[in-house]
Every structure is written in structure tokens, then in C-alpha cells.
Symmetry: C2
Subunit: 344 residues, 2 copies
DNA sequence: CTGTTAGCGCATTCAA
DNA sequence: TTGAATGCGCTAACAG
């Protein structure tokens, strides 16, 4: 049995309150007393009991990272681990603990089971002070629930609600830069492979594609737009659907889909970039390893994770700060061989 | 303010104890009463307060997944997300929550800070019922501490201590199969790129390499052994060190290192598999996507994660079960183009 | 500056 | 089968 406040107090010859004050760095404790108490704490290896403390204070110093399991691509794609690292580092830095919840959307007969149960236990059961949500489709029920339950939360991505705080990258501009680059290279029949359109990141990248074409006065050809799922296989089949319409270039909304497109093009006997130029999005490590190396749009994923956590923590610790908080980070075009001639 | 047991009791016209019994599925409650209580619970959306409950019961229904941050390769390599998925799924299935701790080994002046603080808070502070540890070097201080603190834990990998429970893959046999395959193809100058030798997985794969050669009576040539770090870059430089000794084949202890080796070989103007055959380990998705596709040893990573969690939970729920528990899962050789002629 | 008191919300004796 | 009483370990007024 580890020691309790009570025992430390007895050994140090003071009251529980005093020990509590020392532990919590309260200013008004006589230095000698504080030192004596610390000494006992060190010797006994005393550590406050988290549950007892949070029962009394009503906070846990735990934040949750919630990711809807649906998005399987997360596990084949480096996005996930890098985000997690950003999140975990920020938690460590601020002395918060991290609860990871991979929600699965499996519906169960009883709403008192499955994801619902998990959600309820975690959030209404007060395991968490707040949460970061990533990779959720725009109609995910998690958002209305968090809002309704008044849970402090920050989204990685965006969400159009007046009380939704988020950290996002500028997907529209990133995509536009990619397509503009293809336009500068002289392409006019530019296709796009979108992500799943129930996600804002996918919608926004499509919007960037649209804007770039519109700015050049090129009419939108719906046949040059194919929806994928952010994963490789989806990119491959989307590319196959696009082939009959003879694009000379394709903008894939993720590197994994670009890799799939590469595969489909090779299978069709087409050369990249000579016959078809390809541009991806994300700049995952794989992007520079495939043949030909992918031109792509780099996004600061790790930073996204740590900023989300930092924003959340500042929300938790300064609850008075009014208004919503939104951060949009810039992206960067990384030019490699897959789009052909190198242009400034 | 969410409702408490007290309020539910009042609304249902019973005592707190009765509501508690209903919530915890105790048998001896009159069916009508139980129904009435459930009704109130549903209507009020009552959910037990986790901290209060664990203060009273001394368990939290949270398990930790601890990964020493040192192993950076985890973030460029698909091992990590797949393991996590296995871990998370098993947690969900058993209604446990998952705390993720990416320990960094940064030393801080005060031992009351940094990783030490994290460890102490998490484990002595009773946040967790037990932990799963993955990817720790064999001399990681976490193991002695967990043993000393009597924390129930399961390792993904192995650890030679009489009280250490673990779930591992048969690295020795897996590596031996890989090297035996190269031997069957007629190779005699077979090099190996090992993982970091402060990890058992790396040591065991090296041992498998040794065994395969020994079984053929081929003397060990230390110059054909180069230590890597499981990551691509390490594989590349290791391969460069091996080149002067003219191996005709190389067994890399991870796919990422095999990819690095591929790169080094190409840079040296050597063809794979014609000039040098390459075999990897892991069978990550990338293995089948590189050129040439990698022959490799597949290990059931996701299963490793879920079994570790299941073992841990069974330990937690049947504390009486004596003895240590160890599971070793088999691996499978996956033959692709990088090792040349297809045999079998 | 320090001790005393009173909960935080729940599970669990013990009686009834 | 049910209720009353007690305590899990800690923080936070409130006095002094």
C-alpha cells in the first residue's frame, strides 16, 4: 500500500492540509515546514492518488484523442502516427495524460453498447477534461454530442459551428497551388482524384482544384473528377475511371491515392510524367521513395497535433477566454519528378 | 451538472445502495425495482463518475500502452499504427479505456520531472490498472520499475525475467526461414543488417541468421554483419558498409531497412535480385510496393497488440492465476521478386 | 501560516 | 431484498 496524504502528514508532524499545500505548490507555507514535508514525500515515495484528487477538484489532467475508426486509411498512411506524436509530445510537455479512443461506428442493437457506451463512459463519466477530434466525417454524431454535453474540444480539421474550435491546414490554397503548378506546365485536361467527400479536407481540396481552373477560365469537366477514399486502392480505381477521358495530368488529394494512380497508369502502359503528370498531397515519406518521386503538397501534420493540444489546454486553463479559436496553417508545394519539367 | 447516484435514488424512490446494485448488475434486486431504477437512469442520462468509482473500488478500467519515444522508427514504419489498432480494438471489445504514453528518455536535472514524473503520476498515482509495453530496449528502466511497483504488465516482445509476461513473434525462426530461403537459392555470402542490438527483436533475428548459416556449416563472417536501427536511413548506410565485402544476398531485419538497402544497392549500380538478393522482415504494405517487391517475413502485428491486451485483462480479472504467461506467435515467409528465382 | 471541517460520488459492509 | 453508515484520498473553505 502506497502512503497517503494522511501518513505523510503524520510523519512530517503537520496536518493533511499542509501537505496538500506543499504538494500543490501553494505559496503560504513556511519554508522549513515545506522542506520537512518534501523530505517525507521523497522518502516515502508519496504520489497523490489521481482519482481522489479528481473527485475533489473535478478535473483529471487527461485529454482524449478521438479518431473514428471508420477511416481505415489512417493505418496505412503515415498521417496517423505523426499526428499522434505531435499530440503526445504536447501532452507530455504540459503534463497532461493522453487517452486514445479509436471509435468504431459499428451499430449495436442496444444504444447502451458500442461506441455510444464508450462515448458516455469517457465523457459523461468524467474521464477526460477535454478532447481532440481528428479525421471525423463532417456528419459524425460526435460533434453535436460534444457541443450538447459542453465538452471542451478542438478539432483537427474544420467544422462550421460557431462554438467549434479547430486547427486546420489551408487545404484550399494547398490544392490550388498544386493545380496551378500543373497549369503553368501547360496542362489543360487536369483530372482530380478527391478524398471521400463526406470529409471537409476532401471537399476543400476539391474546391482548390476548382478555383485554380476557374482562375484560368477553364470550364469544369465533371468527368475529370473521381472520388477516392484517401487510400491507395481507391486512388487506383479512381484513376482507372478517369483514363477514358484522357487527362494529361491528375491531382490526387492524398499521396497514397497518387501512388495508386501511378500504379493504374503504369498498368495502362502510360508513362509518368511524360504521358500523364501526377501531383499528390501530404508529402508522406513514401512520396519521395516511389518512382517517379511525387510532386506533392506538404502539410505540417505533427504541428497540427501539438497545436490542437495546446489550444485545448489553454481553453481548459483559461475558461473565461471568449470566442472560438481557429488556426489555419499553411501548406507548401514540393516539386519532384512526377509532374515533369521543373518550373520555378 | 450531471445527476449523481443520490439523485437517481431519490427519483426512483430507493436508496443509493439499490441504485448502485442495479448499475453494477447485482443479482438480488427485485425486478420491478430494477426496472424502475433503469428507467430513471435512462431518463436522466445518469453515468457513474469514474473517479468516484475508482476511488471506492481501487480500479480504473484504464490500461496503458507505453512506448519509449526513443524508437523514432515507430513513426515512419507501419508497425506502430497497426499495433495500436490491435490494442485499441481489444480494449474496446473488453470495455477498457486506453492511455497512450510515448515516453521520452530525455533526462532532466530533477528526477521529479520528465519521464520519471510521467511514470510516477501514471502508475503510482493509480491512473492505470495495468500496462502493455512495446518496443522498449532490453535495458529500459521501465521493466525493473514495473516489477518493483508490482504493476501488472504484458510486454510486446520478450524479456527474461521470471515475472515478465509477454507476447512475442518467433523472431528466431522467422529470420532463419528467410536466410534458409536464400541458402536454398544458392547464396553463400549472405550478409545481414540487424536492428539495434539493444533490442531483443534485433538480437533474435540475428540469432536466426546465425542458426541458418550454422546449420549449413557456413562459418560466420563478422564483416557481413552490420547494425542498423530498423529505419530506412540506417539500412542504407549499413548496406554501404557491407558493399566492400561483396555479399550476394542480404537479410535485413526490417522492411524499412531493406528498402534502404535497395536504395544503396541501386546507387552502387547493382541490380536486385540479379547482383544481390534482398529479404526483409515485417511485411509492411510498402514491401509489396517497392521495386522490386520485397521478399519478407510476415508477422501478425495487429494480433500481437490484441493478444497483449487480452492477456493483460485476464491477468487483471483473475489475479489468482499463478505463473507467468507467454505467447509466441509464428511468422510466415512471403516470397516476392527481391530474392530472385522463385523456389518452392 | 496552519489546522479543522466538510464534502467530491460511489461501493460496500452490516443490519434489518 | 433493501437501507443506513462508513470510508476511499484528496482539496477547499473557514477559522484561528
Amino acid at each position: 500500500m502506497p502512503p497517503t496524504l494522511e501518513e505523510v502528514a503524520k510523519l512530517a508532524g503537520v496536518s493533511r492540509s499542509t501537505v496538500s499545500r506543499v504538494v500543490n505548490q501553494h505559496p503560504h507555507v513556511r519554508p522549513e515546514v515545506r522542506e520537512r514535508v518534501w523530505e517525507v514525500i521523497r522518502q516515502t515515495g508519496y504520489q497523490p492518488h489521481a482519482a481522489a484528487r479528481s473527485l475533489a477538484t473535478r478535473y483529471t489532467r487527461v485529454i482524449g484523442l478521438i479518431i473514428p475508426q471508420a477511416v481505415t486509411t489512417l493505418f496505412t498512411d503515415p498521417y496517423f502516427p505523426v499526428l499522434m506524436r505531435g499530440v503526445a509530445d504536447a501532452c507530455n510537455a504540459h503534463n497532461y495524460h493522453l487517452m486514445l479512443s479509436l471509435f468504431s461506428h459499428r451499430r449495436v442493437r442496444d444504444s447502451y453498447a458500442g461506441q455510444d457506451l464508450l462515448y458516455r463512459q469517457l465523457l459523461r463519466g468524467r474521464y477526460l477534461d477535454g478532447v481532440v477530434v481528428s479525421s471525423a466525417p463532417l456528419d459524425d454524431p460526435i460533434f453535436p454530442r460534444l457541443l450538447e454535453d459542453n465538452v471542451p474540444f478542438v478539432i483537427v480539421g474544420r467544422y462550421p459551428h460557431e462554438r467549434a474550435n479547430y486547427v486546420d491546414v489551408d487545404n484550399v490554397v494547398g490544392a490550388r497551388m498544386a493545380v496551378e503548378h500543373l497549369l503553368r506546365l501547360g496542362h489543360e485536361r487536369i483530372a482530380t482524384i478527391t478524398g471521400p467527400l463526406n470529409m471537409f479536407a476532401a471537399q476543400d481540396r476539391l474546391e482548390g482544384y476548382r478555383q485554380a481552373l476557374a482562375a484560368r477560365g477553364i470550364p469544369l469537366d465533371e468527368r475529370l473528377i473521381a472520388e477516392g477514399d484517401f487510400a491507395e486502392q481507391g486512388g487506383r480505381t479512381a484513376m482507372q475511371r478517369l483514363l477514358p477521358h484522357q487527362p494529361t495530368a491528375v491531382f490526387a488529394a492524398s499521396d497514397m491515392m497518387a501512388v495508386g494512380a501511378l500504379k493504374a497508369l503504369r498498368e495502362a502502359g502510360l508513362r509518368v510524367p511524360e504521358d500523364v503528370a501526377v501531383v499528390g498531397f501530404d508529402d508522406v515519406p513514401l512520396a519521395s521513395m516511389v518512382d517517379p518521386p511525387l510532386t506533392t503538397v506538404r502539410q505540417p501534420i505533427e504541428q497540427l497535433g501539438s497545436m490542437a493540444v495546446e489550444l485545448l489546454i489553454s481553453l481548459l486553463e483559461n475558461p473565461n477566454t471568449g470566442g472560438v479559436h481557429r488556426v489555419v496553417l499553411p501548406t507548401e508545394l514540393v516539386i519532384r519528378a512526377s509532374c515533369g519539367v521543373r518550373v520555378q
